[in-house]
């Protein structure tokens, strides 16, 4: 058997002593690989015993036990008890004591005092039993194990307080044992202790089990803070001292932004919002805002970044909308494109270009891809059974049909996809199909269509996916959805549609058809870029130099991970394919879904009307970004986060830091003389900053925001503990310390301004203005450096955030509540009071009405499901609307809110 001892430390001491005592035939290996094969992770200095059977023992106590067992010494209850006590009680305390002795330079006596109660425990046990050794009259495994842990701290019995007489005697006789003496000689020469010290320095300082138990009292959710090592603290102080000169120069790309050789070139797209609707908060956080935050982060990292997006304008939905509003499709697009652009401008989305899909470039590029696919044999022609509405004299595209989902029996499934189960549907498979325009029943007729031959492309797709997944960051849901798509087997997919509003198909026999919107829409990324720069191919046909990030909500994944890549792989023109596919889950509103038709939720154009600044919206949406799981927007939570995180934490810290400079130091950053505590804080901030980078590099936007808030929390604590406002009135030393604390704090505020920029650009700009942060410091590195040196002058400091009052938030909740509030009245959440108190709310009446509405709603659905006569349904729907109106009145709301327009004809 082989005993591997990587480092000469306390653990080595006891195993060697035990091996010696048992005269075990071991082959000793010093140093070498610190981790024997298949042994679980242990501290790097832990010795390992490799037995001939291949078993590896990694616990020093178990190794000692093994040696004594081979000698024939069976463990007793008492020796077991000592071993357990040593492992759980003595060892943690001893490690801390050894750290105090070697790293902090305490004397042996002081270190021994740290072990206080534990040494007394040994003393009492020995005295009470009157035996010479811990578990009897002869040395046992218990003695070796306890002695081995104590010896490096005490070295000799004289370090022990004299009143511990029995312990002193025992310790002395142990040290005189031949096996122990030999082990000590080979392990603990002074040089070895130094070697061990360097290991200890790389570890966080150990904390005592007893201390840990008390500090855990108010149990921290995310576990206790990681302790800092001496090395980290020293490195943070060095980085700080290097100052702003150490920062890279902020990169200012030429316009238009084009890939640059030798730089990291990041191309970011956000799923193109469909033009016919106003986006709601869920849409905004799902793609444009998430992508914007990441794009801003990339720019601050000096990565050459292009962020493109635009409205997706072709397709049936636009046509239906145009019919609804009595406009031409183009007029609809123009109208809504402006609405979208305005909303995103208000949210401060930093598109490099926000285009649209109804442009000549779109036609050129889409037709080119089509021709290439055709030439390479990736298109199939087939006759399709399609629904035709004789009343409207047309074949009905998917979105012109509604019916019952064949998978989950949801009654309002669209012809292409079911909103409930999310499955894609072939329109002819719908049960009880209805023409969306005239409500007539369509019939199935044959027609010719073109298909993308996905099975033929499957092999290429899988090879590419494997490579993209190995090297890129795909969110778990994106991988999962893609995998399940491929597992279900790829089938040819129709790319043409019987519509007018779309990119025309350039092939005889199909001239009256257009491209299916999902063949067409992702090509919008390319055509929008082409409208931005005629050198668009340097982004889109350049996978060697460009890294592509696609942002979207999870319902968009298959189109970006399977269908669009297949088009591009088949067209075979060296296209840039997605490297990182970032998909969010869904954002709910209060307890339900956003619904335009029911007037539930906040929509992009209304956010502005709330009077709450765009940056607060950005902050809150990013704070609850549905990363990994669905999340829910809630008004009271918005208020809470604004008032606690922004106002009391972040805003408070930055404001105080700036105010101290103005009030105590005449607006000039004072001299700083860093104490070990200040350096510790620098290291703590550095740790958070690195964490922030690590998370954002993996596009974990929501989690990275927590790092910013942690830094300001540390900052607040730092100010609170050091009380510069008191010290400034003290003696020379106190005043100097007040200066240091103020200087460090204002530099933290400066760092926060940069870190915050991707999340809250206007607030970041405001801080930059108030503190006069030089533009050259507006760049992110991995170190926290002093960017506002002594002598730097700050400007006028004023509060950054405003408190949100309960009344105002309640009023907003009522305004945007839609049907939500009345569907879930509960004891804990009383229905909101009306603003003008005409009559007191009768809560019983409310409850009755709520139940009636629910009952009537079910009744209507039932009738529809059973294909009842239209007249009967209409009558019941009218009743339902009347009930809803009464309910709204009873709640003190204007009844218009709950009578949705556009659904009345139903």
């Amino acid at each position: 058997m082989q005993l591997r001892v990587p480092v000469r430390g306390p653990a080595a001491l006891k195993v060697l002593a035990a091996a010696g005592a048992a005269a075990a035939p071991v082959q000793l290996v010093w140093g070498g690989p610190s981790e024997p094969p298949r042994a679980p992770l242990r501290p790097p200095w832990a010795p390992a015993l490799e037995l001939d059977s291949g078993t590896v023992l990694f616990s020093p106590n178990a190794i000692c036990q093994f040696f004594f067992l081979t000698r024939g010494d069976e463990p007793t209850d008492l020796s077991n008890q000592w071993l357990e006590w040593e492992a759980t009680e003595l060892q943690p305390a001893a490690t801390a004591a050894l750290y105090a002795r070697l790293v902090l330079g305490r004397t042996a006596l002081e270190a021994a005092q740290g072990l206080g109660k534990l040494l007394t425990h040994i003393e009492q046990s020995l005295a009470r039993r009157g035996a010479a050794f811990l578990a009897g009259d002869t040395p046992s495994v218990a003695d070796v194990v306890v002695w081995g842990t104590l010896f490096p701290i005490l070295q000799d019995e004289n370090s022990l307080p004299s009143e511990l007489q029995a312990l002193r005697t025992w310790f002395q006789s142990m040290t005189l044992l031949e096996a122990c003496r030999d082990a000590a000689d080979s392990v603990l020469m002074p040089k070895a202790l130094l070697e061990f010290k360097s290991y200890l320095q790389k570890q966080p300082p150990p904390c005592l089990a007893m201390q840990r138990a008390t500090s855990n009292e108010p149990e921290e959710e995310e576990g206790s803070e990681r302790a800092l090592t001496e090395e980290e603290i020293a490195a943070a102080a060095d980085a700080w001292a290097r100052g702003a000169a150490a920062l890279p120069k902020p990169w200012q790309p030429q316009k238009p932004v084009l890939p640059v050789e030798g730089m990291r070139n990041v191309l970011i797209t956000s799923a193109l919002p469909y033009v016919n609707n106003v986006p709601h908060l869920g849409n905004i956080i799902g793609c444009v805002l998430s992508a914007d935050t990441f794009a801003r982060y990339c720019r601050l990292r000096n990565w050459n970044t292009l962020y493109v997006c635009g409205t997706d304008e072709y397709g049936t939905a636009t046509e239906t909308k145009a019919v609804e509003e009595g406009l031409t499709p183009q007029e609809i697009c123009n109208k809504y494109h402006t609405i979208h652009a305005d909303i995103y401008r208000w949210f401060d989305i930093s598109f490099d270009c926000f285009g649209r899909t109804t442009t000549p470039s779109q036609t050129t590029i889409a037709q080119d891809i089509f021709q290439r696919l055709l030439a390479r044999g990736f298109l199939l022609q087939d006759t399709v059974e399609q629904l035709r509405c004789e009343g409207c004299q047309r074949f009905l595209a998917d979105r012109f049909v509604e019916g019952t989902c064949p998978f989950c029996s949801y009654e309002e499934a669209r012809g292409d996809q079911c909103d409930k189960c999310g499955k894609l549907i072939n329109a002819v498979e719908l049960k009880n199909p209805q023409c969306k325009l005239c409500r007539g029943v369509p019939t199935v007729k044959p027609t010719q269509h073109l298909f993308l031959d996905l099975p033929k492309l499957e092999e290429r797709l899988e090879a590419w996916l494997e490579q993209s997944w190995a090297t890129g960051d795909w969110t778990a849901n994106a991988r999962y959805i893609t995998r399940s798509w491929i597992r279900d087997g790829l089938k040819p997919r129709c790319i043409t549609r019987d519509l007018k509003w779309g990119t025309p198909v350039p092939l005889d026999g199909f001239r009256d058809k257009v491209f299916y919107v999902w063949f067409d829409a992702p090509i919008g990324y390319l055509s929008i870029t082409a409208n931005y720069t005629d050198q668009w191919e340097r982004w889109w046909k350049n996978p060697q130099q460009v890294e592509l990030y696609n942002f979207m909500a999870k319902d968009n994944v298959p189109f970006h991970s399977v269908i669009f890549p297949c088009s591009l792989l088949g067209a075979d023109d060296n296209y840039t394919l997605v490297n990182h596919l970032i998909a969010t889950e869904y954002l709910n509103y209060e307890d339900g879904k956003f619904s335009k038709s029911r007037g539930v939720g906040v929509f992009g154009d209304m956010a502005k009307d709330t009077g709450i600044p765009a940056d607060i919206w950005r902050f809150y949406l990013l704070y609850l970004r549905p990363e990994g799981q669905d999340s829910a927007f809630s008004w009271s939570d918005l208020m809470l986060k604004n008032n606690s995180e922004l106002l009391n934490n972040l805003g408070n810290f930055i404001n105080r830091a700036g105010m101290f400079v103005c009030k105590f130091f005449g607006g000039t950053v004072p001299n700083m003389v860093l104490t070990p505590d200040d350096k510790r804080l620098l290291a703590r901030v550095t740790l958070e900053l690195r964490q922030y980078h690590q998370l954002l590099e993996k596009v974990r936007i929501r989690e990275a925001l927590r790092c910013i808030l942690s830094i300001s929390r540390h900052g607040n604590q730092y100010i609170q503990v050091n009380e510069p406002w008191k010290r400034i009135k003290g003696d020379e030393k106190d005043r100097q310390h007040a200066g240091t604390v103020t200087g460090v704090a204002v530099n933290m505020a400066s760092l926060l301004a940069v870190m915050l920029q991707p999340y809250m650009p206007s607030v970041s700009l405001a801080i930059q203005g108030q503190l006069c942060i030089p533009p050259d410091s507006f760049v992110l590195s991995h170190d926290f450096t002093c960017t506002l040196p002594p002598g730097h002058r700050v400007g006028t400091v004023s509060p950054l955030f405003q408190k949100l009052e309960n009344d105002r938030v309640e009023a907003l909740r009522r305004r945007f509540g839609g049907g939500q509030a009345k569907q879930t009245p509960s004891a804990s959440q009383p229905p909101p009071a009306p603003e003008t108190l005409m009559a007191p709310i009768d809560s019983q009446r409310l409850q009755e009405l709520t139940q009636e509405v629910a009952r009537q709603g079910n009744h209507v659905r039932q009738l529809k499901a059973n294909k009842a006569e239209k007249a009967q349904i209409d009558m019941e729907v009218a009743k339902l609307l009347e009930l809803k109106k009464q309910l709204a009145l009873a709640e003190g709301k204007s009844p218009e809110v709950s009578v949705p327009k556009g659904k009345q004809k139903k």
Binding site: L51, F66, D77, T88, A213, A476
Partner: protein, 179 residues
């Protein structure tokens, strides 16, 4: 939030039942960490889970649970110690992750913690990990596949689980590629 039932007396009572020992042992606790103490007829009693558990096994004359050879005995000792130091000492998610990773590597080629024999180490590790395993997501259970297999095996071992909740493991993997 209800504090989880800490390691200690509770599981020793479960162990007694599993071993078929008569009820009626008197337990106390000691110190802030509530270390169990067993009152015995002779002497000041026994302190600590490992110590008491080994004592109970010997009382029940099921010494094979402590290992038969020197090697097995040392391995059992090692994992009992791991249980009371690492598992019971874990306070953060990161600690838990390391433990599951450790165990997953160790169990890669083993049926039980000590190799091919069921021992006290399996029993106490099962009791100590139960509160962690119930909270794992499907994905995590699949990530620590060897731990999941072992844990499922132990919870079905006659007499072990008793009133503790059954942790469900899905047979078909949901996340096939562990990217």
């Amino acid at each position: 939030m209800a504090a989880r039932p800490g390691p200690g007396v509770g599981e020793l009572v479960l162990l007694e039942k599993l071993l078929g020992l008569p009820k009626g042992s008197k337990y106390g606790v000691q110190g802030e960490r509530k270390i169990p103490v067993l009152q015995t007829n002779s002497g000041p009693g026994l302190t600590g889970i490992m110590t008491i558990a080994a004592y109970l096994v010997k009382q029940a004359k099921k010494e094979q649970l402590l290992g038969s050879t020197a090697e097995e005995k040392a391995v059992v000792q090692q994992w009992l110690e791991y249980r009371v130091t690492q598992v019971d000492g874990s306070s953060s998610k990161e600690d838990t992750r390391i433990i599951l990773k450790d165990l997953n590597i160790h169990l890669e080629d083993k049926v039980y913690l000590a190799g091919n024999v069921f021992t006290l180490a399996d029993i106490l590790m099962y009791y100590g990990l139960h509160h962690i395993m119930v909270d794992l997501t499907v994905q995590e259970k699949e990530k620590y596949l060897n731990v999941s297999r072992w844990f499922n095996h132990i919870q079905h071992y006659p007499g072990v689980r008793q009133h503790l909740s059954n942790v469900v493991f899905i047979k078909n993997r949901l996340y096939t590629n562990a990217h």
